[in-house]
């Protein structure tokens, strides 16, 4: 849990993924399209990956990956990202972290 939160606070936008997960790839692409360069962390290549997965589930993430953190706080998984993006809220939340406009 600490590891997850620690990594999540490392950068403004952090996405926990599994290297084989293509929906994770989708979320990463979307963030890039919005002009954000997130820190992408592959939990399946981490020796503590299983524990991290459990921690993410405990935090209320609908599916363990992708898990999106903005400003150290859990935003959610693919569903939440898509909903917020369509409502226009995601753009607002990511404004301070945009590297390109």
């Amino acid at each position: 849990m600490e590891k997850v939160l620690g990594l999540a606070s490392d950068q403004g936008v952090v996405i926990f993924i599994k290297s084989t997960c293509c929906l994770c790839y989708t979320v990463k692409i979307l963030f890039q399209e919005i002009g954000v360069d997130p820190l992408v962390y592959e939990i399946d290549h981490d020796p503590e990956g299983r524990e991290m997965e459990k921690a993410l589930a405990k935090m209320g993430c609908s599916s363990p990956v992708p898990a999106v953190f903005i400003g150290g706080k859990l935003l959610g998984s693919t569903n939440e990202v898509m909903s917020l993006h369509l409502s226009g809220s995601l753009n607002q939340m990511l404004k301070p972290y945009q590297t390109q406009t």
Binding site: C21, V27, M82, L86, S87, N91
Partner: protein
């Protein structure tokens, strides 16, 4: 069963059914399961037995005949006839046994075929009467959940048609906003029902859904990940919804851009899925070691997630659009949408029925 008849034919060919050809033991001729035992060793035995017996018999009858030529002629003839009768009876019993065995196995096969036919008929009934043949999908075995989805979807389309007519009449009749609200909410709920149905179908067979077999040909032409493309839908509606306020116009444009970005991301994600799957299947394709089928299966499972996300996008687009528009605009929007898809379906039927040039 056919083996038995060929065996009988073989026996016949070997002259074993000819008169005076004895088989030393009829019991030996059949194996325990009742099939005819005609290994080469049996034939050899038969021949050996044949020669011995024939020699014996002919020797006996020759002797008997020579020594009893005048006095015992009628006796010999009788003996011969009795022997012949015995042989004929034996052969007849053998033939009957073989025939009965043939009947038994035919009966078994028939029962099997009847069972299969009943199963196929039972499954075929699920598909119901699809007047538009392009909606009936066959993929070998029919999944009952998919068959149920096809039926439900047929009803969904009929209900959609009713709702469109109601909306058209209501808008022409200038009913109150409150009554209009009910119609709009019904319309949106109807789409939500479709997404719920599709979620269940995706669990049952995601490939069926993504193939678009459940839709008409022209609808399929426009298909994106198992359904309509949300940004395209917004394009269709925008022209129909004028006049929009500046704020509304901005909001709809933003919605369209967000949807396009999400669609692009999902499209790239599915392309990556295809690539990953293809690479894993092609791993050492000329070797003998096989490939990671389990990984490939996991990839295929991921497809359901993509279809769900695509439907989620469609649902959210409709939701947000209805929030941007006034009640009356929303009603017009639902009417326009419904009519648009109806025209796609009608065009498909027209296309299917078009007169073809004789070749």
């Amino acid at each position: 069963m056919s083996a038995t008849s060929t065996q009988i034919a073989a026996l016949r060919g070997m002259g074993i059914y000819e008169p005076f050809n004895h088989i030393s033991s009829w019991a030996d001729a059949f194996r325990d399961d009742g099939s005819l035992n005609i290994g080469p060793s049996t034939i050899v035995q038969v021949d050996a037995g044949l020669d011995n017996k024939t020699e014996l018999v002919s020797h006996e009858s020759m002797e008997t005949y020579r020594s009893n030529q005048e006095e015992h002629k009628p006796g010999d003839k009788l003996q011969r006839r009795l022997a012949q009768n015995r042989e004929a009876a034996r052969k007849s019993r053998l033939r009957k046994k073989a025939y009965v065995q043939q009947l038994e196995s035919s009966r078994l096969k028939l029962a099997q075929l009847e069972q299969e036919l009943e199963k196929a008929r039972h499954q075929g009934a699920y598909l119901g009467n699809a007047s538009n043949s392009s909606r009936v999908g066959f993929s070998g075995t029919v999944n009952p959940e998919i068959a149920a989805f096809e039926m439900e979807y047929g009803h969904w389309v009929e209900e959609q048609h009713k709702q469109i007519s109601e909306l058209r009449k209501a808008l022409q009749a200038h009913i109150t906003d409150i009554e209009l609200r009910i119609l709009v909410e019904n319309g949106l709920n109807h789409y939500n029902n479709l997404f719920r149905m599709k979620a269940d179908a995706a669990k049952a067979d995601v490939f069926y859904l993504i193939s678009g077999k459940w839709r008409t040909s022209v609808e399929r032409f426009f298909q994106w990940i198992g359904g309509f493309r949300p940004s395209e839908l917004l394009n269709v509606l925008m022209s129909q919804l004028e006049p929009l306020t500046d704020q509304q116009h901005t909001n709809v444009c933003n919605l369209r851009q967000s949807s396009q970005q999400a669609e692009d991301a999902l499209t790239q994600g599915i392309d990556k899925l295809q690539q990953t799957l293809s690479q894993s299947i092609a791993a050492d394709v000329m070797g003998v070691g096989g490939y990671g089928q389990i990984d490939a299966m996991e990839n295929l499972e991921a497809l359901e997630g993509f279809v769900n996300q695509a439907d989620h996008l469609r649902q959210q687009t409709l939701q947000h659009l209805s929030q941007i528009l006034t009640m009356r605009q929303a009603a017009r929007g639902l009417l326009a949408l419904g009519e648009y898809f109806h025209r796609l379906r009608a065009l498909s039927s027209l296309w299917a029925a078009r007169p073809r040039e004789p070749t």
